[in-house]
């Protein structure tokens, strides 16, 4: 294992939509070691939910496949890789556009990537048609302690 990571975990599960909740709760529990705020935890859960849902409904189109999550903690940062070996994305720039969806019939809103980008510090998409898609996301965690310190400075100003 790469020494520069303080902690790391890997999770693989079958692409069933009933696993979406399990996936986001597991990543949130792992990230809790960085002492995130309630809001940061909610943001992480949402971004994971979006990425995992995409693997299941777009990548595998509800066929059975494996969704893989690698989560790393480095200093005060969470680094996530969420990937599938499904159909891949033809036009990544288009996919990132708000409201763009290839599945409007499923009542998808096309807001998944927009939410990931706004809730995380960085989002990178790697995809090859026919081979699959990997989403890399990072988020700096302002620890609760730091936040309290800030509140305290504000109080004493």
């Amino acid at each position: 294992m790469n020494k520069s990571f303080e902690n790391e975990m890997k999770l693989e599960f079958v692409s069933k939509s009933s696993n979406e909740s399990f996936a986001r709760v597991t990543v949130a529990a792992f990230a809790a070691q960085l002492d995130p705020t309630v809001e940061e935890l909610a943001d992480i859960k949402t971004a994971v939910s979006e990425a995992v849902t995409n693997c299941i409904i777009h990548g595998y189109e509800n066929k059975i496949g494996i969704v893989k999550i690698i989560a790393k903690l480095r200093k005060q940062e969470l680094i996530l890789e969420i990937s599938d070996k499904g159909k891949g994305i033809e036009d990544i720039e288009m996919a990132k556009e708000p409201l763009y969806t290839t599945k409007p019939n499923l009542e998808r809103s096309g807001m998944g990537f927009t939410i990931m980008e706004s809730f995380m510090d960085s989002v990178e998409i790697e995809s090859i048609v026919g081979l699959g898609t990997k989403i890399k996301m990072t988020k700096k965690i302002k620890s609760v302690e730091e936040e309290n310190k800030e509140d305290f400075t504000m109080l004493t100003k």
């Binding site: 949402t46 979006e50 849902t53 409904i57 809103s109 927009t114 939410i115």
Partner: protein
């Protein structure tokens, strides 16, 4: 999800009490459309007071019910948006289309 119907005012209230994601939304959608068809309400209120998690599946859910209610002459409204739910709706712009309303929180 609990359903309440006020016959006099033709008001249908859905009190959501689950996590709203792509998995849970399938059942919510089916039940909501059934109830809307059954009661033919003038107003449909989605109450988010007890929602602990919602991702973009919630946006599709509300837009879909908004369209469905319109077909039968009903209007959709949103109540008790929590901070995290509001954050998702804000991003989609649907709060410009669908009004927020005040109803009592329940315990």
């Amino acid at each position: 999800m609990e359903t309440f119907f006020d016959e006099k005012n033709k008001l249908l209230i859905f009190r959501m009490n689950e996590e709203i994601d792509d998995y849970k939304v399938q059942e919510i959608r089916r039940r909501a459309d059934n109830e809307i068809q059954r009661y033919m309400p003038k107003r449909v209120i989605f109450d988010f007071d007890k929602v602990s998690f919602m991702d973009s599946a919630g946006i599709g859910l509300i837009i879909g019910r908004y369209k469905f209610a319109n077909l039968i002459g009903g209007k959709v409204e949103l109540a008790n948006l929590t901070n995290s739910v509001r954050k998702i709706f804000d991003m989609s712009g649907i709060l410009k289309l669908i009004p927020e309303t005040e109803i009592e929180q329940y315990s």
